[in-house]
Symmetry: C4
Subunit: 203 residues, 4 copies
């Protein structure tokens, strides 16, 4: 399961770069093109780390799996489906990030929100199914399982809020995604833990 | 064999996204572009899960292989060849999905049918050769082998029928592919089983 | 070494598909576009199996490696460099396959020849270095090593001949590549063998 | 950690080829197009081996890792971020390599410098954190750790110098990158060594 998932994550994260381009045929200097193209660069960097954090968490979850059933494979495929849409929703967001695009900016923000919310829901389903169907490498208490699902499930509530902020200001939304990503990247709580998050244990 | 195959499947499934695009340079709003572009989104989603199900079944089959010979590698390469055509046949299908394109819609449907039929035939050849040449991890009775080949071989008969439906209505064909994919994704029968399909055993 | 190489091979083989396209915006029907585009389809299929055979042989060679040194990594990187040029040289060959392009067709043929010859030379260097520097899993006699290097080294002589044929007739060159690929795909001789090629042993 | 990293490296190195193209629709012959396009080919070849050497060193470093913590994953992700920008900075460099582009050439050179400098810094951070946080497979003396970090840290000083040269002459910069790459590809010093670099030991 991991080789294919890592492959899709690696391809999706690297395809993001195809949205960046500068051309000597443009009348503007390169410096001007780069300045004018900041939405593409900002969206690129944020989406890179959004997918990167999915990879870090996916890796941690897959390491806990002892048995794989069809339903887990399907939830995993659902996660990868939303990941694979990120290059499209990122480039669309970059296209419409300037507020001058009016309602289209909100549509682009919603579209990006669907990608990230879909990833969060699919990831929570994976974790929930893994712990309920006893597919983990070591026994998991109901309390541990609930805490893990709750912790990642919170993401499914956070992304809609961030999307709402994006409808008011799309650049602020990108900053919030960057902050969320930094938080998840450095957070040290093991996924299946007895203790509440932010405890002193190392991953 | 698996790393390369997983790589090709992962790249092909992720390249599908390159057919989705929206541009602020278009006179239409983003919402209108997305509505008008529904064939691309529908074809994208269906092809993603078509390749996804190939991956799930490929993974299950490869796990049964103990020895690999040249012929198995060649059949596997043939499977990957048809998989790698999916981004092209999907984008062509999306281009011509509207019935207003007349005969070209039928050609696009046939082209898509060749990709999926090719995958089904190559997959059946792999399974057939594996069981005949005794390349599996555990002994397979002739009865088990026949049942497995028959079960996947049925796909080689189903796809032409689905393609015929597509010549009448291409969108209906996409719905049928979606239904077939959901069926294969959730089906629980082990690939080499003594019992008839739909038995109570877990994979 | 294998995961990265498999990755490059998988990406290169799948990127080939980006050269295939059909558009509803063209004035021609899809059938006409497909007919007119046959050089792209032919070049695509041939290059897919050329890279596929590199993968099969690469896999067989890597399985014989017990120790990896810097020089082997470098020869491997050189092999991957030429593999990674194949999507470009294939699309160029397809662009100029019609003889009406005159001298440019010969240049396209030469370019394609450089890609395949580069692969053959790098592959032979890998095999030669592996056997001389005793990096293999089991001891290799000088005779076995010579035979293996000779056998793959023959490829470095065959490709220039095929390229010369291509300067006279580019489509005939594609057919010859297809024939060579089929030969290498099905050939059963182990890479390090005491016996002359075409012996009865299974790989 | 390695499968995903290898995937990103493999995709980034292979996407470079998308910047090479020749078209029969151009009024120029293929030979003329290839001559005029030499900056693309030079930049392509140099970037291929720049990423290739990152892969060789990354592979050597990852083999020394016994435990992975979140911070190491983050530094690794940072390395991959800069690697993933290489297809963009390479194509931009190729676009503006001709000195006739004036100040834009310097901007393109700086952009390329940011990609390579970012890789060198992230790689040094990985190595520094690995040795300090005792994540290596065998105990590392402070002296060995300092020497390894110093050795790779030198790269973080070399790239800015090479970039300065590039502002005077961009093609000379490409030649310097090629020379650096050849040096790193063939250098035999183990990453964690007691002895000073260039000793007689094999890797």
């Amino acid at each position: 399961m991991e080789a294919f998932s890592d492959g899709v994550l690696a391809v999706a994260i690297t395809l993001l770069v195809l949205d960046l381009h500068a051309s000597a045929a443009e009348p503007e200097t390169l410096a001007t093109q780069l300045q004018r193209g900041w939405p593409s660069f900002a969206a690129y960097a944020v989406s890179f780390f959004v997918i990167g954090v999915v990879w870090i968490n996916h890796h941690a979850v897959v390491n806990l799996v002892a048995h794989v059933d069809r339903r887990l494979l399907f939830y995993n495929l659902l996660l990868l489906f939303f990941v694979s849409t990120i290059p499209f929703t990122t480039s669309t967001l970059a296209e419409y990030l300037y507020p001058s695009h009016g309602a289209s900016t909100s549509v682009a923000v919603l579209l990006y929100g669907v990608s990230t919310e879909g990833m969060a829901v699919a990831f929570t389903l994976m974790l929930w199914h893994m712990t309920r169907a006893e597919l983990t490498t070591r026994p998991v208490t109901r309390q541990q399982a609930n805490r893990a699902v709750l912790r990642f499930g919170v993401g499914t509530l956070v992304y809609p809020v961030v999307t709402l902020v994006g409808i008011i200001s799309a650049p602020t939304m990108l900053l919030l995604y960057a902050a969320l990503t930094a938080y998840y990247a450095f957070e040290q709580t093991p996924i299946l833990s007895d203790r509440p998050p932010r405890g002193p244990q190392a991953t």
